[in-house]
């Protein structure tokens, strides 16, 4: 690749067809994703933002309600110059169900899967299910060709690249020899002769009890027909995520725990071959205008009182701003020449105007 990385957020948005926001929990990642999507829609593009679990306030802002879960809907009043903003909330269970129905020819077989107790608990709670569903949905949106830009908000995760590893994990899972033996046609449990598989079954039976074994095998057998499709989509999606039109935007706060996780994530992205396109640091405290040392010295022994309260707060806030600047510097080192935008601590976003203001702030450059 010869194109140098974009140096401002507006260019990142303009040059991307897929933006993936990632970062630790509690730093305003979903809000950032929505604001970026809105900013892109204001430039005339047709944009969809996919979020996993938006906070109620943001969901209200976008007009998401429970009934619209899993179906894309247009955010009214957003977008200029022919641009549109659509939003979609991911529900892992519903996406999983739909995938099974879409991929299974035989309705009886689909029903077997959907009512299997193992499936019922897998679809909702299996580690990585949410991440996998985000990938599945991304694949659908990408291949539809309907969107100029897809903004996908990843589930908060300490093991930050779960989302990116989900396809690989799934392929590994379905490629496992034990799984192959279990799903081989025409075999009953009693006739499983492969040494590895029988040891596995023996272990599962002793650990989990015979009922779990039966349910598990039934589930795997039922899934067997859709496995090839899953593998193919996982491979396609992995390629899209590494393609030139994909931008990863790292979102953090200036708090040490978040910075540490964000640094870890930046490193994981780099190793995984997913180039970091931009960094957003939310929740940054304001830096007070300094008060000169002579004034502070003269006021040092005024005793308790309202002015002392104000001076104390000024001192604390100044110290905090300094400390945050130091933390952000660490992240800046990882950002290299890509843009890093600091966003001040804001009130909760509760309407589209506030979201648009945030979008302008993010894209107005360094």
């Amino acid at each position: 690749m010869t194109t140098p990385p974009a140096t401002d957020m507006a260019s990142v948005l303009r040059d991307s067809s897929l933006v993936v926001t990632c970062g630790p929990g509690g730093v305003g990642k979903t809000t950032t994703a929505a604001a970026l999507a809105l900013a892109a829609a204001e430039t005339g593009r047709r944009v969809i933002v996919v979020t996993v679990d938006p906070a109620r306030r943001l969901a209200d802002t976008l007009g998401i309600d429970g009934s619209s879960a899993n179906d894309p809907f247009e955010v009214t009043g957003a977008g200029r110059d022919g641009g549109e903003l659509w939003a979609q909330m991911l529900d892992a269970q519903a996406t999983f169900d739909r995938m099974i129905l879409d991929r299974t020819d035989d309705p009886e077989r689909a029903r077997t899967i959907l009512t299997n107790p193992i499936y019922r608990s897998i679809a909702g709670s299996l580690a990585g299910a949410q991440e996998y569903m985000a990938i599945e949905r991304l694949h659908q949106l990408w291949s539809s060709g309907e969107w100029d830009l897809i903004v996908i908000d990843t589930p908060p995760s300490r093991h930050a690249i779960d989302l990116l590893e989900a396809p690989d994990r799934l392929v590994t899972f379905f490629g496992h020899p034990v799984y192959r033996v279990l799903t081989a046609p025409g075999r009953s449990l009693a006739r499983v002769t492969n040494a590895g598989a029988s040891a596995f079954l023996w272990a599962i039976r002793r650990l989990a009890g015979p009922q779990v074994v039966e349910d598990t095998i039934e589930f795997f057998r039922a899934l067997a027909g859709i496995e090839a499709g899953l593998r193919q989509r996982a491979a396609d999606t992995a390629a899209v995520l590494r393609s030139a039109g994909t931008s990863f935007v790292l979102v953090s706060s200036p708090r040490a725990e978040a910075i540490d996780e964000a640094v870890h994530l930046a490193e994981a992205l780099r190793i995984g071959g997913y180039p970091l396109a931009a960094t957003v640091v939310n929740l940054v405290h304001p830096t007070p205008t300094p008060i000169d040392a002579d004034t502070l010295a003269a006021l040092a022994d005024i005793g308790d009182g309202p002015l002392a309260d104000q001076l104390t707060f000024h001192r604390e806030l100044s110290a905090l701003a300094d400390a945050e600047t130091r933390e952000i510097r660490t992240l800046r080192a990882h950002a290299g020449s890509t843009p890093l935008v600091e966003v001040p601590l804001l009130d909760d976003i509760s309407d589209l105007a506030a979201l648009a203001a945030l979008g302008s702030l993010l894209t107005s450059g360094l």
Binding site: I118, S121, H176, A199, G209, T289, L307, Q310, D348
Partner: protein
């Protein structure tokens, strides 16, 4: 709501297992560490457990990053101490196999199927294994109090609910027994408590209210006083202009100083007002006593900060002001 009565300080010496839970970014690890310090300062032998292997907890207590190998981090004059470790599903799985007499077969099983396949083929199993391990540690009475830094909300609910989910999915066998025992631990108000942590902000408060009812109604988990972390200082001086403040203290300050102070005060006032609105919501919607922890003006917490937080944690909880706000229970 069934609430552990009295102060957190008294409560930490009655409870045996405390699950510290909250949305990502609210400071559950910090609160878990401060809770451990509070208990140890009162003479308790504490085991601090990190479920998702956050290594930062060790350094926060002046030690090395946490690992599966237990380390002693803190000893107190009162004879208390804090040991800490991580508990991973993988390690719990091996421990469980050993407990169930699989020792000799371990290698064959490991060769036959990776942990991912076994855990992945029995959903909720990863979480149940970790909870089962905590239950075993409690049964062996390895500490007076086990403080568990549980995964963040979104993950906290599936984690704590895994036993109930497996009780629904599995009707017999060892997994069922394990699920039953874990569910019994969670619902045992004499042994086990949930410590909810939030920030005085809209989204964390909404999620905490939801999580509190969920944990209590569905799991029967007894809830300790709610911890509101990161509270802005509500100082009387922040209600007036710098000019007024200076006059009240009988000093004069320059116009530039006034401007700088006024800007800071406006910011502080806005935070305190927003915080008040959220605390009012808690008064109305969550009948749990609360302790408020101060927002420390640092970006990176150090061991010395924990003592301040532990002290704040030990203060008498504030009862929700239902009368004033017309709460629902």
């Amino acid at each position: 709501m069934d609430v552990a009565a009295g102060s957190v300080e008294a409560w930490v010496h009655r409870a045996r297992v405390a699950f510290v839970v909250g949305k990502g970014g609210v400071g559950t690890s910090t609160v878990a560490a401060a809770l451990a310090v509070l208990a140890a300062d009162g003479g308790a032998n504490v085991l601090l457990v990190s479920v998702d292997g956050k290594p930062g907890l060790g350094p926060l207590l002046g030690g090395k990053p946490l690992s599966a190998r237990e380390q002693t981090l803190h000893s107190t004059a009162a004879g208390g101490r804090i040991r800490a470790r991580t508990i991973s599903p993988e390690q719990s799985f091996l421990d469980y196999l050993e407990l169930k007499g699989f020792g000799g077969m371990l290698r064959r099983v490991a060769a036959a199927a990776s942990f991912d396949v076994i855990a992945g083929s029995t959903p909720g199993m990863e979480h149940l294994l970790v909870l089962g391990k905590i239950k075993e540690l409690d049964r062996e009475r390895v500490a007076d109090l086990i403080v568990v830094d549980a995964p963040p909300a979104g993950h906290a609910a599936p984690f704590l609910r895994s036993a109930a989910a497996l009780q629904d999915a599995v009707s017999s066998g060892p997994i069922r027994e394990q699920a039953d025992e874990v569910a019994a631990l969670l619902a045992d108000h004499g042994r086990c408590h949930g410590v909810l942590v939030t920030l005085p902000e809209d989204t964390p408060v909404s999620e905490t209210i939801e999580l509190a009812y969920d944990l209590e109604d569905r799991l029967g988990l007894a809830l300790a006083p709610l911890v509101v972390n990161g509270c802005w200082p509500d100082r009387p001086g922040l209600t007036m202009t710098a000019t007024t403040a200076a006059r009240k203290q009988g000093v004069t300050v320059t116009a530039a100083t006034k401007r700088s102070l006024d800007a800071v005060v406006r910011f502080g006032r806005a935070r305190v007002d927003a915080q008040r609105a959220q605390l009012d919501r808690l008064d109305r919607e969550l009948p749990l006593p609360r302790v408020h922890l101060p927002r420390l003006p640092v970006a990176r917490l150090l061991p010395e900060h924990l003592d301040r937080l532990a002290a704040a944690l030990g203060t008498e909880p504030i009862a929700p002001d239902v009368e004033r706000t017309g709460g629902r229970r």
